[in-house]
C-alpha cells in the first residue's frame, strides 16, 4: 500500500504580523510548526503502515524552510519526503494548491490512500483536501474520526452535526482526519537522526509538469482585496478589581443579584 500524507508548515502563533503594504502575512521571524491536524494525518498513516505495511510519502508545498515539517514527518516514520517549492507556487488559493498537490500525487503515482488534516490552523478553509480529491477524480471521506483499510476499501467513522456515520470508499481515496482520530506520537531522537538518511526530493513547477497558469497567483481565482479592523463594540464593561478573593466576592455578588446562586 502506498500512502501519501500532505502536511503544511504553519506559524506557531496566532499573533501574526501583516505587511502593512501588501496585507500579506509576514513569515519572517515567526516560528513555525507542523499543522496540528496534519500531525494526526501522519500518525494515522504510520499506524496503518505498522498494521498492514505501507510506503508513506510526506508531501508539502511551501518555501524551502518548509522542509523542516517534512523532516519531522520522516522522523515520525514516513519513508520519503517531497517538497514542492517554486516561486510560481506562491500566493496560491485552495484551487491552485489542490492542482499543484494533485500534480505531485500523479508524479509519485501508484497511490492508494491520500491523507490530509481536516484543516490548517492558519487558513482554516478545510478545502484543499476535498479539492485535491476532485482534481484526481477520486472519492473522499472528510471529517474522519477513525480509519482502517480492508479489502481495498478505506473505512472511517465521520462525526457530523447531529449524526455519526460509518462510510467506506474504494481505494484510491482521500481522507481528511479530525483531532479525535489519534494521539500523535513524539519523534524519538534516534529516529530524528535516521530521518536525515531517508530520501528527500524537492520539485519545482517544471518537475511536476505543472501549467504555471494554474499554480500560484495566476492559478488562484480568489484574492484578498481588503483587510480591516473588526468593528469595535463598546459594551460599557463594568470592571471588578482587587485581590483574587475580592474579585471572586464581587462576581459572586453579581451572580447572586442575577439569582444564579
Amino acid at each position: 500500500m502506498k500512502i501519501l500524507v500532505f502536511v503544511k508548515q504553519v506559524p506557531d502563533t496566532d499573533d501574526v504580523k501583516l505587511d502593512p503594504k501588501t496585507g500579506n502575512i509576514m513569515r519572517e521571524g515567526v516560528a513555525s510548526k507542523l499543522n496540528p491536524l496534519d500531525a494526526n494525518a501522519v500518525e494515522a498513516a504510520i499506524q496503518l503502515k505498522e498494521k498492514y505495511g505501507a510506503t508513506v510519502c510526506a508531501i508539502s508545498m511551501g518555501p524551502p524552510q518548509a522542509e523542516e515539517v517534512l523532516k519531522k514527518a520522516l522522523a515520525l516514520g514516513c519513508d520519503e519526503a517531497y517538497l514542492l517549492s517554486d516561486r510560481a507556487f506562491g500566493g496560491a488559493d485552495t484551487l491552485a494548491t489542490s492542482y499543484t498537490l494533485a500534480m505531485a500525487a500523479k508524479k509519485i503515482g501508484g497511490y492508494d490512500l491520500l491523507l490530509f488534516g481536516r484543516h490548517a490552523v492558519d487558513g482554516d478553509t478545510a478545502q484543499t483536501g476535498p479539492a485535491t480529491a476532485a482534481q484526481l477524480g477520486i472519492p473522499q471521506i472528510t471529517l474522519a474520526s477513525s480509519i482502517d483499510v480492508q479489502d481495498g476499501y478505506v473505512i472511517c467513522d465521520r462525526v457530523l452535526e447531529d449524526s455519526v456515520q460509518k462510510v467506506r470508499a474504494k481505494l484510491p481515496a482521500l481522507v481528511t482526519v479530525t483531532a479525535e482520530i489519534n494521539q500523535p506520537r513524539y519523534p524519538k531522537p534516534i529516529n530524528i537522526m535516521k530521518a536525515l538518511k531517508k530520501p528527500r526530493f524537492v520539485w519545482n513547477a517544471e518537475d511536476l509538469g505543472a501549467d504555471k497558469t494554474r499554480t500560484g497567483i495566476p492559478g488562484s481565482p480568489s484574492s484578498t482585496k481588503e483587510v480591516l479592523e473588526p468593528p469595535k463594540r463598546n459594551a460599557d464593561t463594568k470592571y471588578f478589581s482587587g485581590s483574587g478573593e475580592e474579585i471572586a466576592a464581587q462576581i459572586a455578588d453579581m451572580l447572586h443579584d442575577e439569582h444564579l446562586i
Binding site: 490552523v121 472528510t142 460509518k166 470508499a169 474504494k170 473588526p230 474579585i247 451572580l255
Partner: protein, 332 residues
Amino acid sequence: MAKSDYKGIWVFAEQQNGKLNGTVLELLAKSQELKEHTGEEISAVLLGKNVSHLADTLFAYGADKVILVENGALENYSARPYEAALTQVAEKYKPSIILYGATSLGRDLAPRLMVSLNTGLTADAIDLGFDKDEVFYQTTPAYGGSILAHIVILEARPQMATVRPMMFEPIEPRVGAKGEIITETVTVEADPDYEVLETAPKQDTGDSIEGAQVVVAGGRGIKEESDLTALKELAELLGGKLAASRPLVDNGWLPHEKQIGQSGAAIKPKYIFNIAISGSVQYQVGMQNSGCIISINHTKGAPIFDISHYGAVADYRSVVPALVEEIKRRKA
C-alpha cells in the same frame, strides 16, 4: 464567455431525508440584500429524490425560482454524484454567485465544485456584500482573528462561498408565495466506490455546550490542563458546561465538541465566563450573542473586554478557585 454573461444568485438548498438545512433559509435571507444591489433573481437549487414538496418553503423564504434536480442517485448525499449534478446545471445556467451553508455537507461538496467549475470558493464566510467598487466580497476572519479580510473572486465565475451557519436571520415567511419551478434532468449515477454503511444519531453525552444556560470557557492563557478542573467545577456549581476556545482543542485538552467559535459551535447561553481568552474574531462569532458576558484576562487591552458586560483584569488562577470557594460557601 464574459463574466457579465453570468447572472443570478444561487443558494444550494441542502436537504437530507427531505428536510431543509437551516442554513438554506439564512442564505435566502442574505440573498435578498444581494438582489437589492444587483437586481438578479434568486434561485434555490434543490437536489435529491422526492423533494419537490420543499419548493413552497423555498419560495416562502425568498427564492424567486427553484431549480429542481431529482434523480435516484441523489437520494442520499454523496460527493461525486452531487458534484456531477450541480456542475451540469451550473454550466447550463451560468449563475454569477453560488452560496452554500458551511455545514459538514456543504464543506464536503463545495470544494469539488470549485474544481469542476474552475472558479474561486471562499471558506466559511461570516458576511457577504458589495464594496465601494461594486465588487462582491466575502468577509472572513484572518490571521488568528485579529483582522477581517474581504475575499473577492474578480474574474472567475460563478463566485462561490460557504457561509457560516447562524450569521443571518431568515426572513418572515411570505405565506403563499409562488415562483417558477424549473425541473432539470441530469446524467448522473450513484457512486459505486462510496457507501454509507451505518448512520446513527449522535450519542448525547449530556455534556453538549449547545443549549447550555451557563458556559465556562477556557482559552489560550490556561497554563496547565489540570487548571481546567477549577473551571469545570465552577461550571457545575452554576449548572453549566465547560467549553473552550480553539487552542485548548488544538492541543488536545478538550474534544472538538467543546469548541466555541468559527470552526466550532455557535452558542447563546444566558451567562458565559471567558477565562484567559483574548477574544479573536473567530471566537467572538461563536458567542457574541450570549446574554451576559463575564471575562477574566490578565491583559487589560484584550479584545474580549470590548464585548463583555463584566470584566476583571487578573490572573485566572487567583480568581477562579476563589470564586469556586465563595460560591460553595454561599450555597452552604
